[in-house]
Every structure is written in structure tokens, then in C-alpha cells.
Symmetry: C2
Subunit: 234 residues, 2 copies
DNA sequence: TGTACATCAGTGAACGCGCGTTCACTGATGTAC
DNA sequence: TGTACATCAGTGAACGCGCGTTCACTGATGTAC
């Protein structure tokens, strides 16, 4: 029976390995990650790493799960500290936290939303739960706004295409989203609109055109909520 | 003096090399591209490729330029063949062609808008012109709609933040966009909104949620134009 | 508290593999008369 | 049209490099009495 103390130290080394991995991905891209480079970075031989991760793919999976959880943490933190709980401002704060996390953790964001790493396939049963955790923060707030009447889905978003609605219901039941199909639908629409800005900023495609992306993003968040049917000013 | 016939054959081999490169990137990701694998693919030794491209980086640059030009070709083709020249429907046809090209050429799209290839930096003076070519198709149509009054920038898009306006003017002068700052601004707003859908579809993040992305995208295009201030129905 | 023992973290060497780029070369192809 | 020559596409070998994973091992650390 390995003592808790021993297990803690093992966990510490695992953390050290992941941190080295993140540093290296920041430098060489997510596809440039290598066990040998990590081993070099932490002064260990490559073979030593196999005491902590069964293979490079296992390590990548751990990094992806960490990334989704860190994103979810950031969103939850923004939700808790935002002024005006239950207001639209709380939602905008969370949406701004989404972009901010992406920009402060570009490597992790690329790992979860950029090009997949060649030869690696994420085991869905492991990666999906933390994805849901993060997205739930956003759609949960939308649900609140809908229920309190601060948000009332405006045309054309008051109508969900029937096939989409069926799929959303399936998702809600299977993955346990604690929200209505309407909230999920509005969440997805908003997600797709904001995701584009983040991706373009991440790879420097948009800065030459509009300069201060943070301001642009904030404006787009507000426009988005109005378009979706926000009843109040922010 | 190399005859035209000789030059044509060289160009043919260059094309063969690029096609093999695209096949390989489709299989192993943009970061997995290798000269040796290309050489194997076309039954040549690695060293032979240096008669056609000075280095792997030169080849990547050629692939990127090709991709931007192919995208611009697709947009121009859509513009020419669209029903109702000068109408909003022509613009929606071009915007749908944008997504369609991305989905039928995922590797090329990832090459130009996805994670950069580790260690490679695109020479801007070479890659920028074909970027402008493509984007000009979209903003050119927006300009037409603005001038004919079919589109009138609706609030809040009737106001361009002054710093953004200044930057857009610089861009228009330096890169020779044949449009107004207003058209460019609306183009950028639309671009960011649609880009997110395409990126999420490309890596399969959105299909599980909404299913038929093509229909979703088309709806979003129409909603976008209405939000920007379209005066007519589509 | 002190000792005997087991665990297992990390070593070191090796496996078979792939990579970009260089260089001297050969022989087919194209050119010039 | 036929011949002599030059070009240069593609070969073959080599350079020094990095990769993931395996295996037998050693010795420090932690455990049990």
C-alpha cells in the first residue's frame, strides 16, 4: 500500500512533467511535443518518464483534460467574482474570461481547439466531462437570464430548427446539462461567433486589421447578447 | 536559355510535389509534412527535390500561397456564377463558398488559418497579396451593397471606433483594398463570426451539438447580414 | 529507536525508425550547328 | 536530318540529428517489525 506521502510526491513529479510539456509546446507547437525533450528539460532520462505516464499519448490526454478543467476553473471564477450576480453583466464577464484564458494560455487553447496532434486521438469518455463542465458555466448563466426574463430569445433565435432541438435534447439527457434546449441553442450560437475572434487573434490574423482585439471582443459580446434578445442594457 | 517546354515540365513536377505534400498533410497534419515522405511518394530521392524547391520552408510557402489563391478563386467563381448580381444573395453565395472551400480543402485551410507549423515563419510580402485577393471579393460585394443602398450599416455597426477606422484607412491605402473603411469594417465583423463556425466544424466540435452544420451556417449568414443592416429579404 | 527488507524511481544502453540537407556523380534530354 | 556538346534532373551515399519505447539494472527511499 503506497502511502499518501509517496503518492503526493509522484503527483508532484507528474505536475513537473506536465509543466515542462506545456513549456515545450509553447515553443515548438502542440505537434512538436516529445518525451525525450521533456526528459531533458527536467533532467531525467526518457525511460524514467514511463513510471509516470504509460506513453506519450497518455500524457497528451492528461494535458487536454487539465486544459479543459483550467478553462472551466477560469469561467467559474469569473462567474463567482463578477459584479451583479444574475445580471447580463455576469455573463459578459464570463465570456470575457473565456477569451482572456485563451490568450493567456494559447498553447492549452490550441491543444483543445486547434489542429489535432498527428497520430493522437483523444479518448472521448475521458475528455468530454471537463468540456461539459466549462460550457455549462456559460449556458447555465444563459438559462438564468432566460428564467428571470432578462433575456428573451429574439427572432430568429426564438425558433430552434426541429432537428437541432432533437439533438440538443439528446445531449442534455446524455451529458446531463442542467439547462433547457433554448439556453443550449443560444449558447452554441454565441460560442461560434466568439470562437472565431479568438482563433483569429490567436494566430495574429486580426490584430493588423482592427488593432485592439480586447475592445473589439467586448463590443462583440455586447452586440451578441442584444442580438440574442437581451432586454436590459449592460 | 531554358525553353518554354522545359520550364513547363519543371512546373509539372513542382505541381506533382505539391500534390504529394497536400496528400501527406491530409494524413499526418500540417506539422507532419516531410521532404523525405514526399520524395518517397513520387518515387524520387529526397535530394532530387532540391532541384525544385530550395528548402522545405520554400515548399510550405508555395503551398500557403496556392491555398490563399485557391480560396480566392473559389470566392470569385461563386461571385460570378451567383444568381442576382449586385444582390445580397450574391454575397451569401460567396460566404457559403467560403465555408464550402474550407470543408472540401481542410488541410489547406488548416495550413493558412490553423496552428502554425513549428519552426516555419511565412514571409509576409509573399503571402499577403493572395490574402487580400480573397478578402477583397467579400468586402467588394459589401461595398456594392452599401453603395446601392441594399445594405445600410445598422446600429451599432453604423459607428466605427476611431482607432479602428484609422487602422482600416492605413490598410486600405497600403494594401490597396478598393473599398471604404465601412465595408472593410462590416467585412471583418462578419468574417470573425463565420470563422468560428468553420473552425469548430473543421475539428468536429460542433457537429455533435447541432448536427447539420451547412444549414446552421447558412442561417447564421442570413442572420449576420440582417444584423449588419440589410434592407431587403434574401 | 534500530534493523532487515521490499519497493520502485531513475539509470543506461539499445532497438529501429525518420528527419533536412550536402555533395560528387551519371546519364538522359534538349540545343546548336 | 545527323552529330557534338552542354545542361541539369535525378542518383546514391553520407552528415548529424531527434524520436518513442523496451529492458535489465541499481541504489535510495519507505515500510514493517
Amino acid at each position: 500500500m503506497p502511502s499518501e506521502r509517496v503518492e503526493q510526491r509522484r503527483e508532484g513529479v507528474r505536475e513537473e512533467i506536465k509543466q515542462a510539456a506545456r513549456r515545450l509546446m509553447a515553443e515548438h507547437g502542440t505537434a512538436g511535443l516529445s518525451l525525450r525533450a521533456i526528459a531533458r528539460e527536467i533532467n531525467m532520462l526518457p525511460s524514467g518518464l514511463y513510471h509516470y505516464y504509460g506513453s506519450l499519448d497518455d500524457l497528451i490526454t492528461a494535458l487536454i483534460v487539465d486544459a479543459f478543467n483550467a478553462l472551466a476553473d477560469a469561467l467559474e471564477a469569473a462567474r463567482e467574482t463578477a459584479a451583479g450576480p444574475g445580471s447580463a453583466a455576469q455573463l459578459t464577464a464570463v465570456l470575457e474570461a473565456y477569451r482572456r484564458w485563451a490568450m493567456t494560455h494559447p498553447t492549452d487553447f490550441q491543444l483543445i481547439y486547434g489542429n489535432p496532434i498527428p497520430g493522437y486521438a483523444a479518448p472521448r469518455e475521458i475528455t468530454v466531462p471537463p468540456v461539459i463542465r466549462g460550457f455549462s458555466v456559460i449556458v447555465g448563466l444563459i438559462e438564468n437570464l432566460l428564467q428571470s426574463g432578462v433575456l428573451e430569445a429574439a427572432p430568429p433565435y426564438d425558433v430552434i430548427p426541429p432537428e437541432v432541438e432533437a439533438r440538443l435534447q439528446t445531449l442534455i439527457e446524455r451529458d446531463g446539462y442542467p439547462v433547457s434546449a433554448r439556453a443550449l441553442f443560444l449558447g452554441v450560437v454565441g460560442w461560434t461567433q466568439l470562437h472565431g475572434i479568438i482563433m483569429l487573434e490567436m494566430f495574429n490574423h486580426i490584430q493588423p486589421v482592427i488593432g485592439d482585439v480586447e475592445t473589439f471582443y467586448r463590443a462583440q459580446v455586447i452586440n451578441l447578447l442584444k442580438t440574442l434578445g437581451l432586454k436590459t442594457a449592460i
